[in-house]
């Protein structure tokens, strides 16, 4: 298990404030972040730009040293035992970095395998397995500079798995990829957690990815975790209003007045919108209006196609939670 406790990162920036005077400013990029990663679990780390997600990932992956707090990876200290921890972790980022463009796919994996000290026989077998997994077996001897963006990203995944890490940090892995390749990558990620038992920490701006992949989500803002929970819990946390949709078969003139009166009697400032094209009422209110709407429908004997609570959107919730702050 990977445990991060009260992680903090403060940077010192120096700016010229006079001819020969430099002013030191301390910037707290990450404050008291605590999180846990368990094998076989995909965790999301969300937040708007500048929330501190990437700094947190870089501390967890030993690239940056925390100024505060503790990282424990299977009983190893993330700072003192960094060289041992490096063998158990890896990171995959979006974009086309982290691979040598002039080397072939196979040569890239071979080089990284050597840096991790993997035994040659084992390394050769692993390279072939990974290349086959990401569908690059037949392209293994082509220099990476001739690869498409999607192929480069697939090679990145293979590189991130070369040391068979227990913990993988994915920083926007589908950034800039088209929908089909992004979906393919999401399948790899799912497989890695479900079938290979990897613990994955995912940062992304695509909420669909979080909803599809993550079992647990941490939302960061201004360097701190402001809220955490399952995607469903978070979506519910973000909503202040309930949205009820009523789809009619045809216009029903009497219904409008009764519905408005009934809803207003419960909540004066509820919002009732009529979409003539789709013949749909959308009722937005703080209180649950389903009971009263059912009663009105029965009274008026209005024929309807559908009647449901609109599912809260995780995206809306995250934006609201981030704006609301801690």
């Amino acid at each position: 298990m990977l445990i991060a406790e009260n992680l903090g990162k403060t940077y010192e920036t120096k700016d010229w404030s006079g001819f020969l005077r430099r002013k030191c400013t301390q910037v707290e990029a990450v404050k008291d972040v605590s999180l846990e990663m368990q094998k076989g679990q995909i965790i999301g780390l969300l937040g708007i730009n500048g929330a501190g997600k990437t700094t947190t990932i870089k501390m967890l992956s030993t690239l940056l040293q925390p100024t505060k707090g503790r990282i424990d990876v299977d009983g190893l200290d993330g700072v003192k035992d960094a060289m041992k921890v490096k063998k158990r972790i890896n990171m995959i980022t979006g974009g086309e970095r982290m691979i040598y463009w002039r080397l072939t796919a196979r040569e890239n994996l071979w080089y990284y395998g050597q840096l991790y000290g993997i035994e040659n026989r084992l390394l050769e077998a692993r390279i072939q397995k990974l290349l086959s997994m990401v569908g690059l077996s037949d392209k293994q001897d082509i220099p990476v500079e001739r690869f498409s963006k999607g192929m480069k990203q697939r090679l990145q995944i293979a590189r991130g798995l070369i040391n068979n890490p227990g913990y993988i940090f994915m920083d926007e892995p589908t950034l800039g990829l088209d929908a089909a390749i992004a979906r393919e990558l999401r399948e790899y990620v799912k497989d890695l957690a479900r079938n290979d038992g990897k613990a994955i920490l995912l940062t992304t701006h695509y909420i669909q990815e979080v909803e599809e992949l993550c079992e647990y989500v941490y939302v960061m803002d201004k360097g701190a975790v402001i809220v955490q929970g399952t995607p469903k819990e978070l979506a519910l946390m973000g909503i202040e209003n309930k949205v009820l949709c009523l789809e009619l078969n045809e216009n029903h003139e009497l219904l409008h007045a009764s519905l408005t009166d009934a809803c207003m009697s419960i909540e004066k400032d509820c919002l009732i919108l009529w979409d003539d094209k789709n013949k749909t009422y959308t009722i937005t209110s703080r209180q649950d209006m389903s009971g009263i709407v059912t009663r009105v429908l029965l009274e008026q004997q209005a024929p309807f196609r559908n009647f449901y609570h609109q599912e809260p959107s995780l995206e809306d919730a995250i934006i609201k939670l981030s704006r609301r702050g801690a």
Partner: protein, 270 residues
């Protein structure tokens, strides 16, 4: 098993160099060195009229100015290329976007730098050999060649260049600059370390500075072993000096890199 990072980095660089600069880079380097040799030849014959001051023979231990300059330039080429390749290695990784993935791996820095250096040494040795062959008609002569002394001198020279490159690597990583720092250093080393003329012609303070740089001792050893005919025993003092200097520079270089690396990574990844 123990030198895997070294071998892997050596092989990686070799493949990259072959794919990136198949011939032109090699030819370009040889040509630059040949121009320098030819200019020394014409300077000696047309400007100096084949005559050198008596002091030159006293300081250089030879009257053969052309060989003196060509050997000096060969070693300068080796030094420049070693320094360039080793000291720019991390900053190149940063520019190519591979520094993060490299730093994620638990590799030994010394092996990584040595791998970079050895690949460069192999390539540059080829360039130097071609350069010497081309310079033979211009009068380069190894009048007093002592093989074992030259070989030991060459190995110690490469180690000393490696040690300087570690300090330069720390400087480059900290400033994230390659051009100003490297070109300034190369110009200074060319001027004060005795590449084209003996250091004794320099003002006293610069002579003292030159004596503290291993390149000066390296040039002395190589010239004494190829032009002066001096053997291992006669140069023991110089060997010890260059070895001690390299050890000091290496220790300082690794200490600096360790310190600068974490500060630089904070700047880069933060």
């Amino acid at each position: 098993m123990y030198c895997r990072t070294l071998y892997a980095t050596f092989r990686r660089n070799f493949i990259i160099q072959l794919r990136a600069y198949p011939k032109d880079f090699f030819i370009g380097n040889v040509l630059t060195a040949i121009y320098i040799a030819i200019s020394a030849f014409f300077m000696y014959h047309l400007l100096f009229n084949g005559q050198m001051k008596d002091s030159f023979a006293a300081y250089a231990g030879t009257t053969d100015y052309v060989s003196y300059v060509i050997i000096g330039n060969c070693m300068h080429l080796l030094m420049v290329r070693t320094l360039l390749n080793v000291s720019r290695s991390l900053i190149t990784e940063l520019r190519e976007g591979t520094l993060e993935s490299l730093m994620l791996a638990p590799f030994q820095r010394v092996q990584y730098f040595l791998g970079n250096m050895l690949q460069q040494t192999v390539t540059t040795s080829g360039e130097v050999a071609v350069m010497l062959l081309v310079c033979l008609p211009f009068g380069v002569r190894f009048s007093g060649f002592n093989g074992p002394a030259a070989l030991i001198g060459l190995i110690l020279s490469l180690i000393s260049y490696f040690s300087i490159s570690l300090i330069l690597a720390a400087l480059m990583l900290y400033t994230r600059d390659t051009y100003i720092s490297q070109n300034t250093l190369f110009a200074v080393l060319f001027l004060i370390c005795g590449v084209a003329f003996p250091v004794q012609y320099l003002p006293q303070p610069l002579q003292c500075l030159a004596r503290g740089i291993p390149v000066t001792v390296s040039l002395e050893i190589i010239r004494n072993s190829t032009l002066g005919g001096m053997g291992l025993a006669a140069q023991t003092g110089s060997y010890v000096r260059i070895a001690v200097m390299s050890a000091v520079y290496c220790a300082a270089g690794f200490a600096l890199i360790k310190r600068v690396e974490s500060a630089a990574l904070e700047k880069i990844f933060g």
